[in-house]
Symmetry: C2
Subunit: 216 residues, 2 copies
DNA sequence: TAGATTGTTAATCGATTAACAATC
DNA sequence: TAGATTGTTAATCGATTAACAATC
């Protein structure tokens, strides 16, 4: 169970969790790798290989217990670590995270937001207080923070990342147009680039149009 | 130049574009696969292989012209198709897209937003009018739409997708908690799941902690 | 020309799929 | 027990890397 798990596998795990929760919600108690594969568009073989990176969750002749498997996957992703998050930048995207993102569901408590805008500082959104970004170090000194979500303009992001790392924040969830390396000094970074996915969609549309043009 | 390009390559292209634009902005005129590889954390070999899926953009002994290459990549992604987009759901995330996302930069014009909320319907955000979702079919009848961004609650997303597809919208940019297949009937779908990336970050943090624990 | 770097072929590596014995 | 389905090994496939001749 303990060597290096490939990145491909890791990135499939959250997807497994989502589908398993869906199954759970629909009342399914057990699922076979074949059924799950059909649902998710994967081969049964791949699913079994993926799961067996972490040990045997199934039972021959039966399949997998949906709830048990779902919990095991969540556990592997570290959902029970009781982590703390902050949001930096309380613009629309920051507010979207504050108001709608289910931090709790993924093991996080959102403890604060930061912004420069005087109209926002001092307010609360969905019970999350907004502090001035100048108070960042002070806050980090007093409060453990595992992940900072960057929802601020790209121009200012670079400096903020330096400050976060200097204050020992280990996780950066980056929504800005900048990209930081996955391992950035002592920190771990996840970059989310909306534009990338829109471009991939554009490409798919182009391909589709070509196919249709070709057929006609 | 014309067979099937692998998904891995396609998903790397937007990233190439981003780094090339960065280089361009920094005033670089030429770049070698070696330099670009060091910048992006890829091998020079892989970069040359990727580019050569689409034909020879470089020049032996010289490298690649940054601007030319960047434009060629953008072109491959179909950036010049002059596409139209709408946003469905004008909550925080919808507003974030409307206000901050550079649709133009990626070849899109954002033409409308839709919502159910009476406080929003009839208003404009950053020059984008918000219509009632009941008017969706009417709007789609009169206006070509290539991509609909779904920034509404998951509960209502499924029905909206059916309506979009019935009205012939070919592209779905899905930000809800639901997941649709990449090819969903005649439509092409890109799913964006914030939670997936946060979980991957959680996993990375867990690994980091384990390493540090191990060393100590 | 000599040096650099591409485009491209060949080699390697890793990931996915297939197969099947183990076993519930 | 017979049937189903896992866990796991072996085979295949595809993606990445290495190598090098072509050429700017």
């Amino acid at each position: 169970m303990k060597y290096k798990i490939s990145n491909n596998v890791i990135r499939r795990l959250p997807r497994y969790i989502r589908f398993l929760e869906l199954l759970e919600a629909s009342g399914a108690v057990r699922v076979s790798s074949k059924e799950l594969g059909e649902l998710m568009g994967l081969t049964a073989s791949q699913i079994r290989q993926d799961f067996n990176c972490f040990g045997g969750f199934g039972q021959q002749g039966y399949g997998y217990n949906v709830q048990q498997l779902s919990e095991a996957m969540s556990e592997i992703m570290g959902i029970s670590h009781e982590r703390k998050a902050i949001v930096i930048g309380a613009g629309n995207l920051g507010k979207a995270l504050i108001a709608n993102f289910k931090f709790k569901k993924y093991g996080y408590t959102l403890t604060a937001a930061f912004d420069v805008c005087p109209e926002l500082v001092g307010k609360k959104f969905s019970r999350t207080p907004v502090y001035h970004i100048d108070k960042l170090e002070e806050y980090l000194m007093k409060n453990k923070v595992d992940v900072a979500a960057l929802t601020l303009p790209g121009e200012t992001a670079s400096g903020v990342v330096t400050r976060l790392i200097n204050s020992g924040v280990p996780g950066i969830w980056n929504f800005t147009r900048l990209e930081f390396p996955a391992t950035f000094g002592p920190a771990r970074v996840e970059n989310v680039h909306f534009a990338d996915s829109l471009l991939v969609l554009s490409y798919a549309l182009k391909e589709k149009e070509k196919e249709e043009g070709g057929e006609a």
